[in-house]
């Protein structure tokens, strides 16, 4: 960004500046629990309704009330929806952080602030807009105890005025936010927004270059968080048993699911639920219930985060050996228990891929968007039942809890697949079965469900010590045969997992590999490298583990391959090391970010520039 001449005259006229249209980020700094979420969502939605691609990132503390929180809205005419590192437009509502927030801004940024904070004294190279929020809120909100919440809506009006966001869109967004049932609340907030707008119109002279202009790039799109998208995927994937234990950032996945299940999965004739949701006493119990239910034939799911995955470890080992389907969402977050539970990471990759004791390996799916949270949830159930094994859908806090612009989800027309399950009729015809026999050469045995009405349906389920007929054994050959068959099953998965997204660029000597939410910033970084450094790149986005042949092919095509991930220890690269040749491994480079915020393009670009010596 160019430096702005700091003379007051220039600021007022703004005549030296090129307008910056639909390509900037707004950061709102507030106090947790002050009700800013509504104001921020409305602002984001209003820009979306004006047809401008937008993304929102909430950076909040592990706290109910009182600690600082930041919400970043990015408008991008190019459609970049990853985090933008630089803040262009700050709304400083939190006295505790205001000073630091202002000092971090780059020259030329704009600041709307609560007048008593007197932030304009801090720097002379920014555009300052003081607003007397306390004075404005009184007349629009007679009820004193609501003022703290309504106060925030005033900045929506101020920002709308300064950035040319249409007030009618703010109004529509408010109505959408509150719904018909809370029309009174919507009115109250609308009054506050108007007061902010009117104040700005009369008292603030626009000096910054940032502006929103109507576009047509969001038609037909939706705004949704990844957890809700995954929840819808489960509902339409035919889930029947759901268990959970509350943990940030995964709780809203099941909470959202409960809402959709109540709407779409209560039988109209009987009034009864075609599902069961249980809030378990802990994650051990949550996974135990999932396995019991799946063993008995239900499509079962649980949702958790890293600490929950750790607790589930023992049961997952049993599920791997007893061959029980399960779908587990890991909405990844930073570190253990009281680390940064409200910050994002891709830090559970190795621990989840190899979760539990003994020789274990588990399939992982990596959605990068709400669309994929939905479709992969649907697919994960079929996959788990086909392979009779736990499947982990690895999202993260950024994807799960933030609002994303997305395409409408496609209805899953493909019939639900329940895997190799023998019915009473099959058993009558076959005269029995051997649970763990590799009949088809793909490593996957046939199972029966408890309750099947046939005297030969039963088998006994236990951990590792069983032969083909599910009988207890401690024989060496039986154990080895069983382990080898389960390994064969894992090999079979390679042709069934979601295929990677591959963009081979014939001019590129280097390739990028990433997965999950890194996708958005890596795409933007590729553009930065091309536009700013003339460097061409190829792209490979993993959608699943185990890896497929496409990965090796991609590595072969390029001189160097940068593996980009959001953890410290290069975890996905570590998994690659376990199965690639030394020659291929030698081509791999690592780009890592692990600061707890969503990955941004500039961080990737800077690291590539450094490593490539550009």
């Amino acid at each position: 960004m160019s430096t702005i001449e700091a003379s007051p005259a220039a600021q007022r006229s703004g005549e030296f500046q090129q307008p910056v249209v639909n390509d900037f980020s707004i950061q709102v700094a507030t106090v947790n629990g002050s009700g800013s979420q509504t104001a921020n969502s409305v602002l984001m939605r209003a820009i979306f309704q004006m047809g401008v691609p937008v993304s929102g990132k909430n950076m909040f503390p592990s706290n109910i009330q009182g600690l600082p929180t930041w919400f970043t809205i990015r408008a991008s005419k190019h459609g970049y929806i990853g985090r933008k590192k630089e803040i262009d437009f700050l709304v400083a509502m939190n006295p505790e952080t205001a000073r630091e927030d202002v000092m971090k801004l780059e020259s030329g940024a704009a600041v709307v602030y609560d007048e008593p904070l007197k932030l304009d004294a801090l720097r002379s190279d920014l555009h300052f807009y003081p607003v007397p929020f306390d004075k404005l809120v009184g007349p629009v909100c007679p009820e004193a105890k609501l003022r703290k919440l309504v106060r925030n809506m005033i900045y929506d009006g101020v920002v709308a005025n300064l950035l040319s966001i249409e007030m009618e869109e703010i109004h529509q967004a408010l109505i959408k936010q509150f719904g018909k049932r809370k029309a009174k609340a919507a009115d109250l907030n609308w009054g506050a927004a108007k007061a902010g707008y009117d104040f700005a119109e009369k008292n603030l002279a626009k000096t910054d270059p940032f502006r929103v202009e109507r576009m047509n790039a969001t038609a037909g799109k939706i705004i949704i968080d990844g957890n809700s998208a995954a929840a819808l995927g489960c509902v339409f994937g035919g889930v029947t048993v759901v268990t959970w234990y509350p943990i940030t950032p995964s709780s809203s996945l099941v909470e959202s699911m409960m809402g959709y299940l109540k709407r779409f999965r209560i039988d109209r004739e009987t009034g009864k639920a075609t599902y069961a949701v249980v809030q378990a006493e802990d994650e051990l119990s949550a996974i135990g219930m999932v396995l019991g239910a799946a063993w008995a034939g239900a499509r079962s799911v649980t949702s958790t985060a890293g600490p929950g995955i750790s607790l589930m470890s023992e049961f997952i080992g049993l599920a791997y050996y007893a061959e029980i389907p399960a779908v587990i969402f890991d909405v990844q977050r930073v570190g253990p228990s009281t680390g940064l539970p409200t910050r994002t990471a891709q830090g559970d990759i190795i621990s989840t891929a190899l979760l539990s004791h003994g020789d274990t390996r588990h399939p992982l799916f990596f959605p990068c968007s709400p669309e994929e949270c939905f479709s992969m949830a649907v697919d994960a159930f079929d996959f788990a039942e086909h392979f009779q094994t736990p499947v982990f859908v690895m999202t993260d806090l950024d994807l799960g809890m933030n609002n994303w612009m997305a395409d409408r989800f496609e209805y899953p027309f493909k019939p639900i697949k329940r895997g190799k399950v023998l019915t009473a009729v099959d058993l009558e015809r076959l005269g029995g079965f051997a649970r763990y026999k590799d009949v088809d050469g793909d490593g996957i045995g046939y199972r029966t469900l408890p309750g099947t009405n046939h005297p030969q349906a039963a088998y006994f389920t236990r951990g590792s010590g069983h032969n083909e007929k599910a009988q207890y054994t401690e024989r060496e050959d039986d154990y080895v045969n069983n382990l080898d068959r389960v390994a064969r099953k894992f090999e079979t998965m390679r042709s069934f997992v979601p295929k990677p997204q591959v963009e081979n660029n014939s001019k590129a000597r280097i390739g990028f590999v990433c997965f999950g939410t890194s996708h958005h910033s890596v795409g933007e970084s590729r553009d930065q490298l091309k536009n700013e450094y003339g460097v061409e790149t190829s792209y490979f986005r993993l959608k699943a583990y185990p890896f497929t042949q496409e990965l090796t092919d991609f590595i072969h095509r390029h001189e160097r391959v940068y593996v980009i991930e959001q953890n410290r220890d290069a975890q996905i690269l570590g998994l690659m090391r376990l199965e690639l040749t030394a020659q291929d491994i030698a081509k791999l480079r690592s780009v890592r970010y692990y600061g707890g915020l969503p990955l941004d393009a500039r961080t990737v670009t800077d690291d590539i520039v450094r490593q490539e010596g550009l």
């Binding site: 799109k221 939706i222 705004i223 819808l232 339409f236 994937g237 035919g238 889930v239 029947t240 048993v241 268990t243 959709y260 709407r263 779409f264 999965r265 039988d267 009987t270 009034g271 009864k272 639920a273 075609t274 949701v277 249980v278 378990a280 006493e281 051990l284 119990s285 949550a286 996974i287 135990g288 219930m289 999932v290 396995l291 019991g292 239910a293 063993w295 008995a296 034939g297 239900a298 499509r299 079962s300 023992e314 049993l318 409408r408 989800f409 209805y411 639900i416 029966t448 469900l449 408890p450 309750g451 099947t452 009405n453 005297p455 039963a458 088998y459 006994f460 389920t461 236990r462 207890y472």
Partner: protein, 347 residues
């Protein structure tokens, strides 16, 4: 001309199955282990009530006790889970198919130590399920350590005395919400059989804590879970007579001595007083009696508590009557209009 005598007709139950259909694999537990006697009673109870074996699902955790489901009802699906977590597996399975009859066998280590949390939450949910604790106060598979049900002062083979008080699994069951709570002794064939039959027809969580001596590690002088100790301290609350719905109650006994409890399927549990003035439908009586018995060094056996009216977990969840596991696609995948509706709201 000689005729070969016709083979004696095979004895079958009311659904035409022989007792063989209710047996399991040969036991690998020690000779004289109380658990084997319990397995025998389970076989008899299911056989005599005419329960179809493959409509039953068996569950267990880890330990000697948890091996037992392999030794009865071989025609039923079984799941030998992980240590202390059987309740969660059973809960999931029963939710997936509520038409099954679920029976879990666990031990005192499984229930009162590593699995105490899952046990208490299972109780709280009143899942329709039979939960048998084979209680011997000691860890067998790891060779003789105290469990959390070992009585204060009870001695190990080495002479070491237990210095912590026990958890009483029946008191816990009463406090946490089980609707059928009983205690028995593996050596009391008649009582255990009546309790098992009641548990089979009870709609709700049925807990039977069975003192089941470990002949190898806890059957010596100084142990409070030995055969000898039980023979001396077993204090029967009453005599039990289970009359299944398909048999007539014909014998008339004077009203004063009998309390009849009507069970869910029309069967009757007849309770004949034995000295104690005990009302098994009153939870406070039960808790008080257990407390007093503990102080007197008695082991109260019989039906401690029964409540046939409390809603089960399935009722609370307002669940579909048919098994969730096998609902057809048309009932578990909402139509495309539903997705359209959801998308419209988000646009």
């Amino acid at each position: 001309m000689s005729t070969t005598p016709a083979p004696p007709p095979k004895r079958v139950n009311r659904i035409g199955l022989e007792v063989l259909s209710y047996k399991g694999a040969k036991t690998t537990l020690c000779a004289g282990c109380g658990h084997n006697a319990i397995s025998e009673r389970v076989i008899e109870a299911f056989y005599e009530l005419g329960v179809q074996p493959w409509s039953v699902a068996k569950f267990s955790g880890i330990g000697c006790s948890s091996k037992s489901p392999a030794y009865f009802l071989g025609l039923a699906h079984g799941f030998n889970g992980v240590h202390g977590r059987m309740p969660s597996i059973a809960t999931g399975a029963m939710l997936a198919n509520r038409t099954m009859l679920g029976i879990g066998v666990t031990g005192d280590g499984d229930t009162a130590s590593i699995g105490l949390g899952q046990y208490m939450h299972l109780l709280r949910r009143n899942l329709p399920f039979i939960y048998i604790i084979e209680n011997n106060g000691v860890y067998g598979l790891t060779k003789g350590q105290f469990s959390a049900t070992a009585d204060l002062g009870s001695k190990l083979k080495t002479g070491t005395a237990n210095d912590l008080p026990p958890f009483d699994c029946c008191s816990l069951a009463l406090q946490c919400g089980a609707t059928f709570v009983a205690r028995s002794f593996s050596g009391d064939k008649r009582q255990l059989q009546a309790l098992l039959k009641t548990a089979i027809v009870h709609k709700g969580l049925a807990v039977i804590d069975v003192i089941s001596p470990c002949t190898t590690f806890n059957d010596h002088e100084g142990s409070t879970k030995s055969y000898a100790y039980m023979k001396e301290h077993d204090e029967m609350l009453h005599e039990l007579d289970f009359v299944p719905f398909f048999e007539d109650i014909s014998v008339e006994i004077p009203e004063v001595e009998i309390k009849s409890i009507e069970l869910h399927d029309g069967s009757t549990l007849r309770i004949k007083k034995l000295g104690h003035d005990y009302d098994p439908t009153d939870k406070f009586t039960a808790l008080k009696a257990l407390d007093e018995a503990e102080r007197k060094g008695e082991v109260l056996t019989g039906v401690l508590y029964i409540d046939t009216g409390k809603p089960t977990f399935m009722d609370v969840l307002n669940m579909e009557d048919a098994p969730l596991a096998t609902l057809p696609e048309s009932r578990i995948r909402p139509p495309k209009e539903a997705l359209h509706e959801a998308m419209e709201e988000l646009s």
